[in-house]
């Protein structure tokens, strides 16, 4: 653990605002974080496809062009290797780029720049060169956009060393984590799920709009959050699945089933202490992950717990995408996504065992 992370772990998180204060959707919370960091630091700029006049396909950059102009908010050609690589070079020279890859699914065309360059330069240089860049990208399915536009893929990025991987689930965290990401001297992959952005043209999750403080604040990267306390079973999850899990927890509470929901908020660094703590508390762990099941986050969580103390677990299961490309037809897509129904079944099975 670096000194900075250790310090962050002991600092109390900023208090979330009282209900009744200003509420924003996640997209606006992200825009606000970027705008305030751009205002504070002239080396911050934004770049990507359709981030200017369009404001980002998922509204992550709306209003930035009007406020900061085309010198600092740059629409790019469809040339991901070139513009992500450009971001890396600019970061090496001390700028702080926020670069959008429109859908994470497109990483295939530019992954070399990401994992062989953005993520490795600091290490290869023996710590002499820093790449303070944010690569933000949309993840997630649930609206029939097919196999090339619906993946989460965070496990892939987390598997490759050298980049932090953060995935907010709500507006408050989205702003605080983006602020932390832009200020970070490491490359940060910032993944927002379309289903938590609170977009007008998509089915909205009830918690995609929430209280967000007006001033700057940081949610430290690498610190999970207990989204709901519980005693019988722990759901370890992130992003949109946090909300499905909270819905299930609320639904089962009257039956006397007490579910704890841990929102990881980042995969790298992974808050292993929080994972172990919740496993120690309930002994029954379910990982809900919208990424593919095999070789990913869910296996990592199981390994984390068992490496620490195999006797902690009374039961372990996972609700993930079963290693199948995300299908187009709604019936098929909802059969593979980690839906509330699948999560509920897993909880019932865990407590019955």
């Amino acid at each position: 653990m670096s000194q900075a992370t250790a310090a962050a772990a002991h600092r109390p998180l900023p208090r979330e605002p009282e209900p009744g204060t200003r509420r924003l959707n996640t997209a606006k919370a992200i825009q606000e974080a970027i705008a305030s960091q751009m205002a504070a630091d002239p080396s911050v700029f934004v770049m990507g496809e359709d981030v200017g006049a369009y404001g980002g396909i998922f509204s992550s950059t709306t209003g930035l062009l009007e406020r900061f102009g085309p010198e600092r908010v740059l629409d790019t050609p469809i040339s991901e290797s070139a513009f992500i690589g450009l971001g890396i070079g600019a970061a090496v020279e001390g700028m702080r780029p926020v670069v959008e890859l429109m859908f994470v699914d497109f990483f295939g065309v530019c992954m070399d720049q990401i994992y062989n360059h953005m993520a490795k330069i600091h290490y290869e240089s023996g710590g002499h060169v820093r790449v303070p860049m944010v690569l933000m990208t949309a993840v997630g399915g649930g609206y029939s956009d097919g196999a090339q536009h619906s993946q989460t893929l965070w496990g892939t990025f987390a598997h490759l060393p050298g980049m932090k991987v953060v995935v907010p689930s709500n507006p408050y965290d989205a702003k605080g984590l983006m602020t932390a990401a832009i200020r970070s001297d490491d490359p940060v992959v910032y993944m927002f799920h379309k289903g938590v952005m609170g977009l007008a043209w998509m089915a909205k999750n009830q918690r995609s709009i929430g209280a967000v403080p007006e001033g700057d604040y940081v949610v430290p990267i690498g610190k999970a959050r207990v989204a709901r306390e519980g005693a019988d079973v722990s759901i370890v999850t992130l992003s949109l699945s946090v909300h499905h899990s909270l819905d299930v927890a609320e639904k089962l509470a009257p039956e006397g089933i007490s579910v704890e929901v841990l929102d990881l908020r980042s995969l790298v660094p992974l808050d292993r202490g929080a994972v172990i703590a919740t496993a120690a508390k309930t002994g029954r762990v379910i990982v809900v992950d919208e990424d593919y099941r095999s070789f990913g986050l869910s296996g990592e969580i199981a390994a984390t717990i068992t490496e620490h103390d195999p006797s902690l677990l009374k039961s372990f299961s996972r609700v993930c995408v079963p290693d199948v490309p995300i299908p187009y037809a709604r019936e098929l897509e909802y059969a593979v996504l980690p839906t509330s129904a699948r999560i509920e079944a897993a909880v019932r099975k865990a407590v019955a065992a």
Binding site: G146, A147, P327, Y328, A329
Partner: protein
């Protein structure tokens, strides 16, 4: 080199000209039907994931001249790789309309049994494929051309993409490799002036991708207006060249995206929007054929009626078809019986 339609000696018979119009009308009629069903059940309050046809929808209205003009020269066994905006090209290539509609509606009867969706159409019967990842159709067209070359057939592969896609690496790598190996490929760029919201001038360092082709040692031609006969003439020469073993060429057509990038796109970034409907190439071509005495009212009515009948059949068939069985969501990840 740039061509204007007036320079084109069409060499087309009256039947040939009518056939181009007929194909364009069929493409448009199909998309109008998709448009209706896509939006009809998404209101009130547009929700992209709701309704009979969920998901993103990229329609190609206005770009029919490219598909009709190019595909007129293609045989069933020639290959075509298209983009996220594929319907006009799929229809031009002769795809079965019921299979196309079935896939768009996410039904078991669709080309991919509902797995692929409108951006991921794979049809071995017509050697048609497309991709939602921009510019990724170029390399696979090379491979199909390579296979044809190896097999000693006269078949060609056509790779179609937008002018936005021509700024992606695979386009440049593919032009070079096709030129180097003299592959029977025709590159077709649909320049509709816009990447999603990014104007060509703001994304492309040269006025025409024909120039880029020349830089790779490939003949490049830009068709400056959205005229089906000009496309037909240019594509005829390029396909003949490829069939004759003389290698690749590139055609860029300055075409028109009549509607939004995807349905639900308010197009606030698009200053010339008001003039766009007037540039619809289909009424323009109808008028041109009429003026030339190559088309009468009756023939036009018959074309429209026939298109409506075919499209209605496809859409009804799709709507009546079963949705895929959720228990089979994992079917087709691997070839049955070969999972190790």
């Amino acid at each position: 080199m740039t061509v204007q339609s007036t320079e084109v000696a069409s060499g087309l018979t009256t039947e040939g000209r009518q056939e181009l119009l007929r194909r364009m009308i069929l493409m448009r009629t199909f998309e109008e039907a998709v448009l209706r069903d896509y939006h009809a059940d998404k209101s009130p309050g547009f929700d992209i994931g709701a309704g009979l046809i969920p998901g993103e929808m990229h329609l190609s209205a206005g770009q029919e001249p490219v598909a009709a003009g190019v595909c007129a020269h293609l045989e069933t066994r020639d290959a075509l790789t298209a983009t996220h905006r594929p319907h006009h090209l799929a229809i031009g290539k002769g795809m079965n309309l019921r299979s196309l509609a079935g896939e768009i509606f996410g039904r078991e009867t669709g080309l991919g049994h509902g797995r692929g969706g409108h951006m991921h159409l794979f049809d071995p019967a017509t050697h048609f494929s497309c991709s939602g990842i921009v510019a990724e159709g170029f390399p696979s067209a090379l491979g199909q051309a390579f296979a044809f070359q190896r097999a000693g057939s006269r078949n060609v592969a056509v790779a179609v993409a937008g002018e936005g896609a021509a700024n992606a690496g695979p386009f440049h790598e593919s032009l070079n490799l096709a030129a180097l190996w003299k592959l029977p490929v025709v590159f077709v760029i649909e320049d509709n002036d816009w990447g999603i919201s990014v104007a060509r001038a703001a994304s492309t360092s040269v006025p025409s991708n024909a120039v880029r082709a020349v830089g790779y040692g490939i003949p490049g031609l830009r068709v400056e207006d959205n005229d089906v006969e000009a496309v037909h003439a240019a594509a005829g020469a390029a396909v003949a060249r490829a069939r004759a073993g003389q290698g690749p060429s590139l055609i860029e057509v300055h075409t028109l995206r009549l509607w939004g990038h995807f349905e639900g796109d308010a197009q606030g970034y698009r200053p010339e929007l008001a003039q766009v409907p007037d540039r619809d190439p289909i009424p323009a071509y109808e008028k041109r054929l009429r003026d030339a005495g190559a088309l009468g009212d009756e023939e036009l009515e018959e074309m429209k009626a026939s298109a409506l009948t075919q499209v209605a059949d496809a859409v009804e068939h799709a709507k009546a078809a079963p949705t895929p069985n959720p228990d089979e969501a994992r079917k087709y990840v691997f070839v049955e019986g070969r999972i190790s």
